[in-house]
Each structure stands twice: as structure tokens, then as C-alpha cells.
């Protein structure tokens, strides 16, 4: 992608040693990020992991406890939100209900005392890009959820800033609209080339939108890497379990002489992406990286339930007393109790140390 090559050369947003506490509760512990110009960054994590808090710190809506924030090479740590060169879009849209759409878009620009014709020019441009020209004179109350969120994006757009911050902008929309707007946000980014920091708890949004994902847990970034990297090479058990649906299967066992021992089975690790040493280990294997054939040989499991989704189906199996999910595009129906013999694509599997939970 074009903007990624640019990203490598120039830093747009830098967060260094960011800490934030609410009283005695430490919410962010030493967050560090260097974000290149034009990069699309997604902050992903469960509820309460500190995503919104990071975004509010970048925006200047929260006073940080420690650390520094740079935007376009300028130290903005103590600057007011309006002076940081950011635009922000909120989950609840946060449109001013008493103002028309045009009034909403113009509000910040009037505060900045921009000339009238410049304000009109920017509103026209944003309205054209977001296709909200028809509703400019309506009040937000007379718009649908999707239209409101476009206006909210427009309000960030007219500010003509380099960094856009999105806080779960699609969470209040229904599934279909969410998928549509997701694509539109991606297009918008391609067109404008701004740096975007996008908060979500939805891994599909994260995987499809991001150039890089920062996966958060308890205010600590677990992994900050491309979606591919996070999917293929999760750095720890938490990341491995968080990304992917159904979640990655974990088998407890030990490594011995280049093989993984699970109960009485010996699974060769030839082709594994890494250098595991002998000892206790957990083998992580995704449902989509497991194949099955009818039969009772080798590693075999019994079908408990089949979820059919049209294009593919997920088989919930019982593997020697343990739950195991398998995804297949084969549309054969398997009645409950059918025995399947499994084989894994080890080149795409992950091994973890059970103590440190880190990838081996």
C-alpha cells in the first residue's frame, strides 16, 4: 500500500512513556507508539482495556500523569485539544442537537475565527466527500444513525487536520450499516491519506481497516504489528486467544526432540515458524488451520455440534475430553458423534510457554 511506504519515513504521532492514573488506579502503564504519516492504526482490546483513555490522552481531553505526546514533530503534551491538530469522532456521534448539520460542521471553524468563505468552502468539500449535501440544513435529530455518523466524520474532516481519532464510531450502528461505513472509512483514508487512530473492540474492523493493530490489555500494549503478523505470529497466549473467531484451540503438552506430545500422540513440528526448545508447551492451532477426514485413526475427535454458515461451517468437536473447533468450507453434514481424524498445518501453528505465556 502506498501510504505504508511513506509511513516508514516520517512520524506523524508519537506517544512516549504515556502513563495515566485516575487517583490510585493506574489505567495506562507506559504506552509507547510511533505512528507514521498516513498510517491507519487500530487500538483493539476488550472493554475497559484503556483504548478510549489513550485516545482521550492524544486528544488532550485527559490530563496525562506522565509521558509525552508529539504530533507532527511538535510536543503537544500540554496543549489544548483544539491546538493539537486532531479531529475526533465519537461513538455517540456527539452532534450538537440544537444546531443544523451545517451549524455542527461550522462550529469549530467559527471558534477558530476562519473567514466565512473558507468555512463555506470546507463545508462544501466535506459534504461532497461524505455525501451529506442534502441534509445540511436538517437538525441531527432528523437524521438516521448512519447519516449522523457521517456528519460526525464531517466535523472532523472540516478541521483540515493531519490526525483523525475515532472512538468506536460504528458501534451504535446495525450490522449491515456498520459493514458499509467500514468500507467508506477505508476509502476515505485512501483518498485523504491522513493518519488515523481508530478504537474498536471489533476484531473484524481491526483486521480489515488497520495498517497496524495495537492490541491492549489492562492498559498495556500486548502487540503492535500488522494484522497479518498479529494473526500469524501472536506474541503471547492472550493475543492468540483474542484474535480469531472461533478462537484458537489450545492443546497442553510437551515438546520432545522436535515433536509435540499431546496425550499419547506425537505431532511432528517440522515446518514450525520458530525455534522451540524441549519442555512444557501449549500448542495453539486455529480452527481454519485444521483439516479432517472421516475416520478413527491418529488424532481423532467426535462431532458435538455443527454450525452451518452457508459458505463454510464450524464443527465443534470433543478431542479426548477437550473442546476443539474446526472450520471447513466442505459442506458435508456430520451428525453428532461422527468420528473425524484431524491433522494440523504446523507451519501456521503457534507454541507458547505455559509459564510466561510467550510465544516460543
Amino acid at each position: 500500500m502506498m501510504h505504508q511506504t511513506v509511513a516508514a519515513t516520517e512520524t506523524s504521532l508519537a506517544i512516549r512513556g504515556l502513563q495515566l492514573s485516575f487517583g490510585a488506579i493506574q489505567v495506562l502503564k507506559d504506552v509507547n507508539m510511533e505512528i507514521g504519516r498516513g498510517e491507519f492504526i487500530v487500538l483493539l482490546g476488550g472493554s475497559g482495556s484503556g483504548k478510549s483513555t489513550i485516545l482521550n490522552c492524544i486528544a488532550g481531553l485527559l490530563d496525562i500523569t506522565d509521558g509525552q505526546i508529539f504530533i507532527n514533530g511538535r510536543n503537544v503534551t500540554w496543549d489544548e485539544p483544539k491546538d493539537r491538530g486532531i479531529g475526533m469522532v465519537f461513538q455517540s456521534y456527539a452532534l450538537y442537537p440544537q444546531m443544523s448539520v451545517r451549524g455542527n460542521l461550522a462550529f469549530g471553524l467559527k471558534n477558530a475565527r476562519l473567514p466565512k468563505d473558507e468555512i463555506a468552502r470546507r463545508i462544501d468539500r466535506a459534504a461532497r466527500i461524505l455525501q451529506i449535501e442534502e441534509y445540511l440544513d436538517r437538525k441531527p435529530g432528523a437524521l438516521s444513525g448512519g447519516q449522523r455518523q457521517r456528519v460526525a466524520i464531517g466535523r472532523a474532516l472540516v478541521r483540515d487536520v493531519d490526525v483523525f481519532l475515532f472512538d468506536e464510531p460504528l458501534s451504535n450502528l446495525d450490522a449491515k450499516l456498520r459493514a458499509e461505513l467500514r468500507v467508506e472509512i477505508k476509502r476515505l483514508h485512501e483518498k485523504l491519506g491522513n493518519t488515523m487512530v481508530y478504537v474498536t473492540h471489533d476484531q473484524i474492523e481491526a483486521m480489515t481497516l488497520a495498517d497496524r493493530i495495537a492490541l491492549l490489555r489492562h492498559g498495556v500494549i500486548q502487540q503492535f504489528a500488522s494484522p497479518d503478523e498479529i494473526y500469524r505470529r501472536p506474541v503471547n497466549l492472550y493475543v492468540a486467544g483474542f484474535i480469531g473467531s472461533p478462537a484458537m484451540n489450545f492443546l497442553k503438552g510437551r515438546i520432545e526432540g522436535g515433536d509435540f506430545l499431546f496425550n499419547a500422540h506425537r505431532i511432528p513440528l517440522a515446518g514450525y515458524d520458530g525455534n522451540p526448545r524441549d519442555g512444557e508447551a501449549i500448542l495453539g492451532i486455529r480452527p481454519e488451520h485444521t483439516t479432517c477426514t472421516l475416520g478413527n485413526g491418529g488424532l481423532s475427535a467426535a462431532v458435538e455440534l455443527q454450525e452451518n454458515m452457508g459458505a463454510e461451517s464450524v464443527l465443534h468437536l470433543s478431542l479426548e475430553g477437550q473442546r476443539f473447533a474446526l472450520r471447513t468450507s466442505d459442506d458435508t453434514r456430520h451428525p453428532e458423534g461422527t468420528r473425524l481424524s484431524l491433522s494440523f498445518d504446523i507451519s501456521r501453528a503457534s507454541l507458547f510457554d505455559p509459564q510466561s505465556e510467550l510465544r516460543l
Binding site: K82, M88, S92, P97, G108, G141, R155
Partner: protein, 298 residues
């Protein structure tokens, strides 16, 4: 065709208008309404009668010869203690007390509430707690210290002093109302306004105040009727020439000299109560309209 069993219930559930429950509800409501309206009726008819007719004794009968003389006397020539120029002086005093008290108390309390709800400053919790204690202390306790305070400020006995007292005593409950109202507005709205470059006052006047019309109406009703109906502070903190309408009404009704002019007393009472009544009617309708127009929801 669907197979509907026509035995047993199907379709919309039938409801009868004249159920035992409805009869009870409507009779209770009617009784209560009559209970409250009869005294008002007696007042109105009495105020329209001449004294001889009143002496005939039937308080429920409508006036044989309606006269507005008692109303005119109540307004412009009834004796209120020192002077005999009726309630008009008290009316204008009450206006001069109520209007600034309502405006100042609501303005200050809404700013307080906004600051407490949206700008959690150091010590804001303590400040709020202290204010709430104020709301629950009976104000009779504070009258004497307040008199001394006003005397030291040199405004004891003046309208300014009374306005100050009303403003202060309205503060705890109004601040509580506004703070609670502002905390129900989405926090992200406040954040968006900050990103858009608005400061403390800008957000207050351009975002919060326009959104709090329903709350403002409630506060106006509450304050205007309370302050208009106030008697105690009016007697304690002002001199006779500044007595509010309620105090003058009391003086008219309790005059011990001469014959008791029931018709004038009734007219004076209705006149005094007219302002709060008017406020209820006018603002009540505004209030309903404000909610219907979706002033808060975005």
C-alpha cells in the same frame, strides 16, 4: 389461510371502559377535584358580593348583584397597616423581589451545576457535599445569623438584601437539580465541544444552556412560585415600605379595626395567588411543548 381457533382468545384483547377499576379511579379523582375547587369557588363568589349580601349567610350561592368594587378596593384602597393604598404597592414590591431573585439564583445555580457536572475540579466533591448539607438545614436556623450578616453589609431592610437572601437560599436545591441534569447529557458532547475549541463559558452558553430549556422552565416555576409565596423572609428582612404582597395580604386580612370586609379579603387573596397560578399555566404548557419538541434528545 391461517388456522385460527375461534374458540378461546384470539386477536386484540378486549377492554371494557367501564371496569370496576376505572369507576374507582374516576370517582376518587372527582372527589379530590371538588374538595380543592370548592374553597376557590366560595372565594370567587364571595369576592363578587356586596357586604349586605354576604351577611345573608349562604356562602355557596352565586352573587345576586355581582360587583367588582371589592377587587378595586383590594387593589388600590384597602388598609395594609401603615397606608391605605391597597395591594398595588406590595404587588410591585413582589415583582421587584421575585424577578431579580429568580434570574440570579437560576443563573448562578446553573453555572454551579455545570461546573460540578463537567469540570471535576479539585475539591468539587467536597464542595458539592457542603452544598447538599445546606439543602437539608431548616432555614429558620439561619435567619438570625443572616440578619447580622446583612446588617454588616449595610443592606439590611433593603430589597437588595432580600434578593440576596432568596438567591442564597435557592442555591443548594437548584444546584443539585442542574448538576443532575447536566450529568445526564452525554459526556462526549462536552468533549466534542472542547475539540472544537470552546472553553468553559463557550460550552456553557452555546451547548449546555440551549440544551437545558426543560430544566430552566422547571427552575423558573420552582423559584418564582417559592419566592412570590414567601412570607417569612419578606417580614424579617425588609422594612414596611418594601413588604411583598403576601405580607400586605396578611395585614389586610388581619386588620382589627372596623368591620371585616370578607369580600375585599377574598379578592385580595385571589389577586395575590394569581401570579403563581399564571406561572403554572403558562410555563406548564411551555414545559410540555419543550419535551414534545425533543429539546434534549439528539
Amino acid at each position: 389461510m391461517a388456522d385460527i381457533t375461534f374458540e378461546g382468545p384470539y386477536g386484540r384483547r378486549p377492554r371494557s371502559r367501564i371496569s370496576a377499576q376505572n369507576i374507582v379511579i374516576y370517582s376518587v379523582l372527582t372527589l379530590v377535584a371538588i374538595y380543592y375547587l370548592i374553597p376557590l369557588y366560595v372565594m370567587v363568589v364571595t369576592s363578587l358580593k356586596g357586604l349586605p349580601e354576604i351577611r345573608m349567610g349562604n356562602i355557596f350561592s352565586p352573587p345576586i348583584e355581582a360587583t367588582f368594587e371589592p377587587w378595586a378596593r383590594a387593589w388600590s384602597s384597602a388598609c395594609t397597616g401603615l397606608n391605605c393604598d391597597g395591594l398595588q404597592r406590595g404587588f410591585w414590591n413582589s415583582v421587584r423581589i421575585t424577578v431579580p431573585s429568580v434570574v440570579f439564583s437560576i443563573l448562578i445555580a446553573s453555572i454551579n451545576g455545570y461546573a460540578l457536572a463537567n469540570w471535576r475540579f479539585k475539591g468539587s466533591e467536597v464542595f458539592f457535599a457542603v452544598l447538599m448539607i445546606g439543602a437539608f438545614i431548616p432555614y429558620q436556623v439561619m435567619i438570625y445569623p443572616m440578619v447580622i450578616l446583612l446588617r454588616e453589609l449595610g443592606i439590611y431592610g433593603t430589597l437588595t438584601g432580600l434578593v440576596l437572601v432568596h438567591t442564597i437560599f435557592g442555591m443548594p436545591i437548584l444546584t443539585l437539580l442542574f448538576r443532575n441534569y447536566f450529568t445526564t447529557l452525554p459526556e462526549e458532547l462536552f468533549k466534542a465541544a472542547r475539540v472544537d475549541g470552546t472553553g468553559f463559558w463557550g460550552i456553557y452558553f452555546r451547548i449546555m444552556l440551549p440544551l437545558s430549556v426543560p430544566m430552566l422552565v422547571v427552575a423558573v416555576i420552582l423559584q418564582a412560585t417559592n419566592i412570590w409565596n414567601d412570607f417569612l423572609f419578606g417580614v424579617v428582612f425588609t422594612r414596611p415600605e418594601y413588604y411583598p404582597m403576601t405580607v400586605q395580604l396578611n395585614n389586610i386580612v388581619n386588620t382589627t379595626t372596623g368591620v371585616r370586609e370578607y369580600n375585599v379579603n377574598m379578592a385580595a387573596t385571589i389577586l395575590t395567588g394569581l401570579v403563581p397560578l399564571l406561572i403554572y399555566f403558562v410555563s406548564g404548557r411551555l414545559f410540555v411543548r419543550g419535551i414534545a419538541a425533543g429539546a434534549v434528545k439528539g
